[in-house]
Symmetry: C2
Amino acid sequence: MYTPEAFKITDGNIIEEFIANNPFAILTSENNGKIEVTHLPINRFKDGKLYGHVSCSNIHANIDEIKEVCFIFNGEHAYISPTYYETVFNVPTWNYSVVHIYGNILYIDDKEKVWELLNETTEIYEGQKGWKLPQEEKFKDLTKFLRFFEINVTNIEAQFKFNQNKTKEDTEKVIKSLKDNKQIKVANFMEYITNIR
Amino acid sequence: MYTPEAFKITDGNIIEEFIANNPFAILTSENNGKIEVTHLPINRFKDGKLYGHVSCSNIHANIDEIKEVCFIFNGEHAYISPTYYETVFNVPTWNYSVVHIYGNILYIDDKEKVWELLNETTEIYEGQKGWKLPQEEKFKDLTKFLRFFEINVTNIEAQFKFNQNKTKEDTEKVIKSLKDNKQIKVANFMEYITNIR
């Protein structure tokens, strides 16, 4: 991914937080010249380790463990009109936030570990006080339809492109314009970017 | 992509409308074993033809025209808790809407055609009454930093996964639960899916 210096994110904590907030990933790999794509929620990305699972019906339940794959995580994004800026000479662009995690899939087939990870997945998405997996055989049986994996991370690319190459006046005006257009979540994210840069 | 029959979308008009509403694409291709990923707004997908452009700094401004690439379009999606349903025996899942357009990139280097496409892109995102590209040389000059392309479409995969395999009572309860959780846009999209199935 082409990433100008101004938009590059390298802080591991910021990347972990971004993925925690945007856990619905796109897994891409190549097989015999075809790009294979699967959409899946991942468990977590913590201390450089990423865990997830797919349905066994999925091509990504059984791919070559030595082949590099890419997980794409999308965050807030919005069209930015030239009219959003303070200054005059601008062209249309798109602001966006993405993280790409490259690595190899290592499948986890140990039943105890899979059950532990499935309980963890549930707690992540339900919260500590939410619905819990009943500790019953008919639920444990469902794990046979799932395949869990860990990712051996080889590379991370992260880009938060939010007009960091513009003046303070321009970025403030863009944030205001997004708010005026009811793009509140993108505007809030852009304010956060402005603070961490 | 693994797509159960109940979630498969094949109607070309529905796919065109989905892309018009979700035009910020993810372009993926493979190069020497690496998945290359670029995020870009596309022009339109109409009558089987897809047009777009990237900055010339981008790897996708100059790839092999005979290699198949994949454009991924994401729409509404949400975590679905087992507590969202009417019935009792359910497991957590994720509802989502995606379209994958496979094809070959055919670059467009004719200056007149590029300027015409850039004006079209602007009108798509600004609307007919919005900001227009000034018909001036300094703006025309900017096209040298962009590379436009057409896609020779080879395959389309579309999946709208919104509990269509559940009962009417369950899907209605999920829509209500999403609304209760302030996931209005996903709930509205799910209502639309329920009507088109």
